[in-house]
Each structure stands twice: as structure tokens, then as C-alpha cells.
Amino acid sequence: MSTRKPHLFELDDGAHIDPGAAPPPPDDETPPQGRAMQAALRAGRVRLSVWARLGWAALAGFVMLVASVTAWDFVTGLLARNAALGYLGLVLLGGVVLAAIWLVAREWAGFRRLRRIDRLRRQAEAARESANRAEADAMLAALGTLYAARPEMRWPIARLRDTAPDQLDTDALIDLGEATLMPPLDAAATREVEAAARQVALLTAMIPLALVDVLAALVTNLRMIRRIAEIYGGRTGTLGNLRLLRGVIAHLVATGAVAVGEDMLGSVASGSMLSKLSRRFGEGVVNGALTARLGIAAMDVCRPLPFTTLQRPRTSAIMSRALTGVFDKAP
């Protein structure tokens, strides 16, 4: 054996130990924690202090100032040297400025769409509170115009227009609106969540690199949230998308759904067997389940009408459908 001999340390500090409170020995078989998704969620939860934000804003402003002044100096200098090249530079600069304006406009439009969804939602809640039928009517009409361009929504909108006058109570009217307009959208959003959960489960189970799987999970989740927002009518830009992610994560934290219970695997059909099969697959399944929860939270946030008559999709149902897909032979 080795030279490390047994040794007894006499301790007379009088302190008493409590083995019950001591951490259990770390085992290689601790249940999977969904490390990649937890890291991705943490990344989305980072909040900067006021001073830090001010500092970053100042830095960004300064860099942009330097860039624009340098560009301007460069173009005017070029004009003085050679008129033809100078005009070319000027035109190109104009193109850049136009593109920037277009980007800003798109972001702004994205924010506006998000705000419109928010407004519709608030309107629905207010109408339900105050039992103001006119407001509910207006809200449903606005919802109709929002979705008017979509072929799959034409029939539900027409049907709502037919049946709405039969409902006398305001909350019944809003419930009818939810039951008529939302199912096709909910189904599409659920499919998105399933696809994302499956993808995250597979990616985090397959990618052996520690940071890359976090990145993959983050990208997949961002895309899922953007698509869900699109489905419910709030197409966003990049900034809006990030903003949305933060909102969704805040919602998820508020509902306490980020904690990984050991039941998480149990909620998934064959999940426990998967985790016995391989630890990596267990991790993947938990990551997928967390993605599904994030997706449901995103549906909560993006839906113009809150879940009242229709049932919110359940993580376990989404996961079992998502994982059935994993073992299908078709790609």
C-alpha cells in the first residue's frame, strides 16, 4: 500500500457534530440536473445594476461616436482627394445609414407588436374585471384583425363573428374567443416546444463539450421563443427577442419551475430507464424537460388571452411526445 499511515487527530474543541446535516457523499449516480439548461437559464437571468448599465451605454455611445466621426472624416477626406472615389464612399455610407435605420425600425416594429399583444391581454383582463362588453368586443375585433391575414385563422374568426352575439356575459364572450381562436395557435406553439425540447435533449446528450452544449441550448431556446411569439402574432427583432427571453425566464422563476425535482425524470415516460441506460441521456432528458417548461412559460407570456378555459399544455405530455420522436426511424 502506501506510506500514508492511519492517524488519529484528537480534537478537544468540544464542538458536536451533526451527521444528519452533513452533505451526503457525492455519488456518481446523483440524478441528472440538466446542467446545460440551468446554465443557459442563468445566462438569461443576468441583471446588470444601474451603474453597470450606464457604463455600458456610455461605452457603446462613445464607440459609435468614434466610428461615425471617423467614417465622416474618412469620406470628406476622400472627397477632397478624389471626387469619384469620394462619391462612391458617400453612397456606401448612405447605404449603411439606411440599413441601420431599417434595423432600428424593424426592432421598433417588433417592440410595437409585443406591446400590442400586451395591450390586448390587458384589455381582455380589464374587460373581464369590469364586465364591460363593449371593451371585450373591441378586443376580440382587434384580435381578429391581427390574425386576419392567416389562412388557417379565417374559419375560427368567421365562426367567432357568428357565435359571439349569442353570448351575453362578458366573461363568457372572452372564454368563447379563447376557445375559438386559440386552439390552432396553441397546437402550433406546442409543436414548436416539442421540437425544441427534442432538439435540446438530443444536443445536450450528444455534445461532449461543456460550453458548447450551453450555447446550443441557449440558441435553440431563443429560436423557440421567437417562433412562439410569431405564432401568437408578436414577431420580434433581435433585441425584442432577448427582452422576451428575459420576460419568459422571469415568469419561469416566479412560478418556481426552474428547480429540477427528482420527479422530473419520472414525469417522462421511460425517463428513468433512460437515465439508468446512460447518465448523459438522463441529462438530456432533464434539459429537454426544462426547455418544455420554458416553452410553456413563453406561451403564457406571448398569448394574447391568458389560459382560462383551455388547459395549459403539461410538461410530461410534451416530453413524452417529444421523446417518442427521438426513437423514430424517420429523420
Binding site: R4, H7, L8, D13, H16, I17, D18, A22, G261
Partner: protein, 474 residues
């Protein structure tokens, strides 16, 4: 007389078949019962294991690795009076009180057989879960003195073989010299005299006691140490003698008593308590054996292997089960007192246990039983700390020493990464470890601070419980 014995045997057989059939039928249709066998030599920690298992199944806060606990499937668990009317109840409350007293102490070693029934109400899950009501599952646990267990090995031996083995073993144990010379000086051909027999038995019993003190596990016959109400009866008055002697001689009488001991003491014990076990956990105090020396390790491995040959592992088919032939479906080998060692060495401890019981495990695996080996502590008495000595960081365990009652942190030395470094010398009959440097201090249980809903602190007891009974609680 012969006819009477035959009839008795037949009646008993019929009785057994009918009880098993009724048991099985009622189990199959109403309330299933599982018999959990807790097997282990004396001082292996059976009583603490059972007490802690029951406490942790009643308060399931620390059993997170059991799926039925994590999935919140157990509605309620409670202690029932045991089903066997003639057996004492396992004194759970007294043992628990000993462990959770102000000055906690290990419970007294078991002196008699006792039984306990734990019943669960389980909420069914799955697709049809909502349509069925809660179901009931009983788990019967049996405690008995570890000394008695050793006798099972005798069932396959006759007197001459047993005598040869025991005398052979005594010949290289210094503390056995007095007893051995007395036995060898006795001529088995002399006429039987009860006085001589009793004097010899006395000497032999004191040899068995010193063998137990030396940490050697092979002390047969076990009832000599814990005779109960059989003390002084002829069936407990015999000694191993060299072969020889005719009718009416001392040797012939000893042979007769040995056979009587087998048929009247061992066989009923085995038939009533071991033949119908479904799941089994084999507890072994590997650390204590390593501390005691190579011979103890070798004897522990051999004794456990011989013992396990008495059980029938494997999957029992429905029909054989109905006809009374139960088999042990799951077998857990557990190295107890793992809290006396830092967790970084637990895998090595498990490896030593596995290597020691390799033969039994292979046999059980081959028969279709599921087997598992792990290091556990039914009651955790220490915490883990690091201390620095001579510039080396040592992974220690800290607790209250059982002897002095003082707080101490202890580094036990390092177990070898290759278990054969221990088992090889043990098999070759080495007198002591050559390069090994390993010791064990006994720790007393720590005063308990229990939160509501939490059982006793443990190490991997939930993993063990999940393996043993987890599938029936889902």
C-alpha cells in the same frame, strides 16, 4: 417410531404446501407480502440496519433516491403487529430510543429471533392509475442472532467432516491450545460419560468465545454461544473428537448429538425463516475483518460463501412459487459501517466485498437473480473533514470515539485499489498484513437532531432500499 416420524414429516409437508398455497392465493389477489431477509454474521449491523430502514421508511425525508418517495407514491406506512403469532416482535422502539438518546449508543446485540411487518399504502401510477384505488404492500423483516446463522453451514456436513475441520483450524490458533490438547487427549472409544462430555463442552465453548473475541467468524455451533432455553440440554453438549469408537462409546454419542442438533435445532430454524425469503441483503463488516487481520478476512469470505450456498437464488416461476418453492430474486451485498471511512474510499470497499463474494454473486447471477454490491452506513455517525499532517492532506472522518467518548478525526489508512492485494494474502494464510497499514476506530452514534419528516441519517440506505423493495412500491 419410524412410522410416526414419517407421518409427521408427511403431515408437515402437507401443512406447508397448504399454507403456502393459501398464502400465495391471498397474496396474489389481495395484499402482497414480501419477506426481506437481513442476513449477516454477528456484529455486522443487522439490528441497526433494520431499525434505520424502518425509521427511514416511516419518515421518508432522507430517502430521496427511492423512486416511490421521489414520485410521492407512498401514501402512508405503518408498523403492524407481525403475522407470526409465536414470534416476538422486533423491538424497534427500544432500539430507536438507544440510537436517539441524549447519549446515543449502539443497540445491544441480538439474542433471540424477532419479526416486524411494515405495511405501505401505495398510490398507483401509470395510465390506469387514476382508476384504481390505493393498494397495500406488506414487507416482513426478520432479525435473529448472527451466531445462529453460521449453523446453516453444518447442514451439509457430517460429524466426522465437521470435527476434522474444526480440529484442523484450532491447531494453528494459539488461544485454542488448551482446549485442543484436552480434545485430542480424549479417546473417542471410551464408554460415554456425561461428566466428561460436559467438561469438554465447557472448554470448547470458552474456545468459541475467545474465537469470537478475536473477530473470527467461523464459530460453529452457534447455539453454544447463545443457547437460549436449550442451555445444558444434551443437544448442546457435544464436542469435535477424532474418529473412532463403537456402539455406546463417547464418539458414537457425540455423533448422535451432532445429528440431533442438525435435525432439531438448525433445520426448523432454516425451514421456518429462510426457506421463504424473496429478497435478501447480506451485511458484512468488511472494515472490521480487515482490521482483525488476514485470517478474519479469509474466514469471512468463506463463511459467507458457504452460507449463501444454503439459499436458493434465482427467479421463481409462478407455479413453483405456488407449490412452496420460493427463490431469492434479489440479492444485495452490503459493506456496512461505511461511515467509518471517507467516501473517496467507498468504491474500494465495495470492490473488496465484491471480490470476496465473487463466487456467490456469480452463482446468483447465473441463476437469474439480480445482484448488487454497495457500501452503506445504516446510521451515519461521522462527518467528513480534511486534516493536514506532515504536509499531506488526509481525508478523515470525524465523530465521537466509542471507547473514550472523545471527539476525534481519524484517517484509516488506504485500502488497496486492487482487492486481491488483501484477499491474496488472506487466502494464503498470512498471519498479518505485510505492507498494509489500515486501522479502524469504533465511533459511537452522534446525538441526533431530527427534523420533522426526516428519518435517521444514513449513507446509501435509500439506494439499498430502492434495490431491495423499490420495484414493489411503485
Amino acid at each position: 417410531m419410524v412410522i410416526g416420524r414419517l407421518a409427521d414429516g408427511v403431515l408437515r409437508g402437507v401443512d406447508r404446501v397448504t399454507t403456502t398455497v393459501t398464502d400465495t392465493v391471498s397474496e396474489a389477489f389481495f395484499e402482497p407480502t414480501l419477506r426481506l431477509g437481513v442476513t449477516g454474521l454477528s456484529q455486522a449491523g443487522k439490528t441497526v440496519f433494520i431499525t434505520s430502514l424502518v425509521a427511514n421508511l416511516l419518515d421518508r425525508g432522507r430517502m430521496g433516491r427511492m423512486q416511490s418517495v421521489a414520485g410521492d407514491r407512498i401514501e402512508a406506512a405503518f408498523l403492524q403487529p407481525q403475522p407470526d403469532d409465536t414470534l416476538p416482535r422486533f423491538d424497534y422502539e427500544r432500539h430507536l430510543a438507544a440510537l436517539s438518546a441524549q447519549q446515543p449508543r449502539w443497540p445491544d446485540s441480538t439474542r433471540q429471533i424477532s419479526q416486524l411487518r411494515l405495511s405501505f399504502r401505495i398510490r398507483p401510477g401509470g395510465l390506469l392509475g387514476g382508476m384504481r384505488g390505493a393498494r397495500v404492500q406488506h414487507v416482513d423483516i426478520i432479525d435473529y442472532p448472527g451466531e445462529w446463522l453460521l449453523d446453516l453451514v453444518l447442514l451439509d456436513k457430517d460429524y466426522a467432516q465437521w470435527s476434522r475441520e474444526v480440529l484442523g483450524r484450532m491447531s494453528h490458533r494459539p488461544f485454542a491450545a488448551d482446549c485442543l490438547s484436552a480434545l485430542q487427549a480424549t479417546d473417542p472409544a471410551i464408554p460415554h460419560d456425561e461428566g466428561v462430555a460436559q467438561a469438554l463442552t465447557e472448554g470448547f465453548t470458552s474456545y468459541l468465545q475467545s474465537a469470537r473475541k478475536a473477530g473470527l467468524p467461523d464459530i460453529t455451533p452457534g447455539r453454544f454461544l447463545l443457547p437460549g432455553d436449550l442451555a445444558g440440554s444434551p443437544v448442546l453438549t457435544f464436542v469435535p473428537l477424532p474418529e473412532g469408537g463403537g456402539r455406546g462409546s463417547l464418539g458414537r454419542e457425540m455423533t448422535r448429538r451432532f445429528e440431533a442438533y442438525k435435525s432439531q435445532v438448525i433445520r426448523p430454524f432454516f425451514r421456518d425463516h429462510f426457506a421463504r425469503i424473496d429478497r435478501q441483503v447480506v451485511l458484512a463488516d468488511i472494515l472490521g475483518a480487515i482490521h482483525a487481520g488476514p485470517e478474519a478476512v479469509d474466514r469471512l469470505g468463506q463463511t459467507l460463501t458457504e452460507l449463501l450456498a444454503a439459499f436458493r437464488p434465482g427467479r421463481s416461476a409462478w407455479l413453483t412459487r405456488l407449490l412452496g418453492g420460493k427463490r431469492v430474486e434479489r440479492l444485495l451485498f452490503a459493506a456496512t459501517k461505511a461511515d467509518h471511512l471517507h467516501h473517496s474510499q467507498h468504491p474500494r470497499l465495495t470492490a473488496i466485498l465484491t471480490a470476496l463474494l465473487r463466487q456467490s454473486r456469480d452463482r446468483a447471477d447465473f441463476a437469474g437473480a439480480r445482484t448488487e454490491a454497495l457500501a452503506l452506513a445504516a446510521l451515519r455517525a461521522t462527518i467528513e473533514e480534511q486534516h493536514i499532517r506532515d504536509g499531506q492532506t488526509l481525508d478523515c472522518v470525524r465523530g465521537t470515539l466509542a471507547e473514550s467518548g472523545k471527539q476525534a478525526a481519524f484517517f484509516a489508512g488506504e485500502l488497496p485499489a486492487d482487492p486481491m492485494q488483501l484477499i491474496g494474502p488472506a487466502r494464503d494464510g498470512a498471519a498479518r498484513w505485510l505492507e498494509a497499514d489500515f486501522q479502524i476506530m469504533r465511533f459511537a452514534p452522534a446525538p441526533l437532531i431530527r427534523k420533522t419528516g426526516d428519518g435517521l441519517p444514513h449513507i446509501r440506505l435509500d439506494t439499498a432500499a430502492e434495490f431491495l423493495i423499490g420495484d414493489l412500491l411503485r
